[in-house]
Amino acid sequence: MNWISNFVRPKINAIFSRKGSSETLWVKCESCNSMIFHKEFSQNLNVCPSCNYHMYMSPEDRFRSLFDDSLYSAIDYDAPEQDPLNFKDTKKYTDRIKDAQRSTGQKEAISISEGQLGGMKTIIACQDFKFMGGSMGMAVGNAILEGVKRAVKNKSPFILFAAAGGARMQESVLSLIQMPRTTVAIEMLREAKLPYIVVLTNPTTGGVTASYAMLGDVQIAEPNALICFAGPRVIEQTIRERLPEGFQRSEYLLDHGMLDKVISRKFLREELIKLIYLLKNQPPPIRGNITESDGPNGRDS
């Protein structure tokens, strides 16, 4: 098994050989505005080399960067009835979905895959903020339930990468009830004594934070991610005062006891492998590799 060689350094060749690289040669950092050569950006897992700002990463890129040998298979889930409420604001909901599908190439705001993580069969779910703000509706609920059922069947750990503006308004109360619905799924993991690890990415807000995304056995966040229930703008309007610097960011939550760790993307794979083996009460896959790595404890620099 050659996952051992990927263990310390995640395989990224699959990422920078993608089509996107030919479209633009340079990527502008959303935080410090520095121009990053596309290849370097991909190699660095969409993190700015100058300021460590963590930018958007698609579910597919995540899976490739995490699973052994970048090998994984997608888990399919039932499509719910589309637009049961016939929702229309300035645009029809069905059109919004079509647009999102066209621009992301994905069918919904979450993807779930199965593969080996450090040699252990693991399910990873990943929300896609580019698909209607990663919003949680019936499809996200179906996907999480399906992924959890697979985890229970295979006795696999379940890892969830959260990214969402919250519940999907266009599904109204049907999106609201995904909060208890996904919580039932998390209960299934608990009853089966399987690790449930949440990685909060930028941004995770609203009904998603207030349900499955805060119920992990271990709560990890990427640096500087906005993580909240109510967004900063809503709060400023309510309390009519300016919020402190870094409010509702990962490091702030860590300081307030809401997270276990803030971890840079490049250390995530190692950290997750270490955690699933510890929680599953199994010997480490390769003795020495984990402790020798320069992975962080708690907040990283």
């Binding site: 039932d78 719910p80 805060m214 709060i235 809401m258």
Partner: protein, 319 residues
């Protein structure tokens, strides 16, 4: 003194005419005046019947938020005997936006929990308009666990614009507190009967409404976001709340149709606030019926009933 909503202007005029006539010195002796009052009163009933028969979702929101509508404390005082309030989350504070405690529904000891909006300027401030902070949800979860330990059914009254969006609330883990409260709802093996008496506002509501049976009052609402909030995000204009209320389909009637709500309780003509005692009595009757229905069911089945309900509900594939 009734507060009239903007669409009830005609009623307000008629009522002031009635008051004027009743105030006349010979109102009790004059047959003409008595007849006129009688006529005006029957006109009031006609207008109310018309207004409230097929009300728009936005008007429902207005009625659901009516300040004179009976609130959780009114229901508890009327329905629950030997009510013993319990306080605090054992971590940080007592949140007065959520009330709860022990008591009896009929002869059965129960745990009752609910959002309280308050009914005067002072009490509304004290209750934070029914918008709970993390401590409120942690108290709710604590009381649910207490109920579970002693095998007591849980009754929750839902009436909140939503969880409080404040600085301290966020710092102390509003999201986590809501998530844990919902989780506790799904963990316990005693029946949970929830009733939305006014506003069922988003996560702040579902944290206490993840129930075996969900009941709504005829003019209450239940939504993922307020119509104003939805309008400002999707229409980029908060004045479009009527359109948003329509689109959100947040009425009890619609939610019953799609199976999210199990039962709808009819309100007195013109809304619960126009005949409080009748509204309280109807709710009491329904809660007693539900309680009896669950008494025959095995505790482990009760938990499964609730989980299965949510697993099957959310995808609409079974409708």
């Amino acid at each position: 003194m009734t507060i009239y909503l903007d669409f009830e202007k005609d009623l307000a005029e008629i009522q002031s005419k009635i008051s004027d006539l009743e105030g006349l010195p010979d109102s009790s002796s004059s047959k003409n005046i008595k007849n006129e009052i009688k006529l005006l009163k029957s006109k009031t009933v006609d207008i109310l019947s018309n207004l409230y028969a097929d009300m728009s979702p936005w008007r429902k929101c207005q009625v659901a938020r009516h300040p004179e509508r009976p609130h959780t404390t009114d229901y508890i005082n009327y329905i629950i005997s030997e009510y013993t309030p319990l306080s605090g989350d054992r971590n940080f504070a007592e949140d007065l936006a959520i009330v709860g405690g022990l008591g009896r529904l009929g002869d059965t000891p129960v745990v009752v929990i609910g959002h309280e909006k308050g009914n005067s300027t002072e009490s509304r401030l004290k209750r934070n308009f029914g918008m709970a902070r993390p401590e409120g949800y942690r108290k709710a979860a604590r009381l649910m666990k207490l109920a579970d330990k002693f095998g007591l059914p849980i009754i929750t009254f839902i009436d909140t614009p939503g969880a409080y969006p404040g600085k301290g609330a966020e710092e102390r883990g509003q999201a986590e507190a809501i998530a844990r409260s919902t989780q506790t709802c799904l963990e316990v093996s005693v029946p949970i009967i929830s009733i939305i008496i006014g506003e069922g506002g988003s996560g702040g509501a579902i944290a206490m409404a993840s129930a075996n049976t969900l009941i709504m009052l005829e003019h209450s609402i239940y939504s993922v976001i307020s119509p104003e909030g939805c309008a400002s995000i999707l229409w980029k204009n908060s004045d479009k709340m009527r359109e948003a209320a329509d689109a959100l389909k947040l009425t009890a009637q619609h939610l019953k149709k799609i199976g999210v709500v199990d039962k709808v309780i009819k309100e007195p003509l013109g809304g619960a606030h126009r005949d409080k005692n009748k509204a309280l009595e109807e709710v009491k009757k329904t809660l007693l019926e539900e309680l009896i229905a669950f008494q025959k069911i095995d505790r482990q089945k009760i938990k499964k009933h609730r989980s299965d309900k949510y697993i099957n509900m959310g995808s609409l594939s079974n409708l």
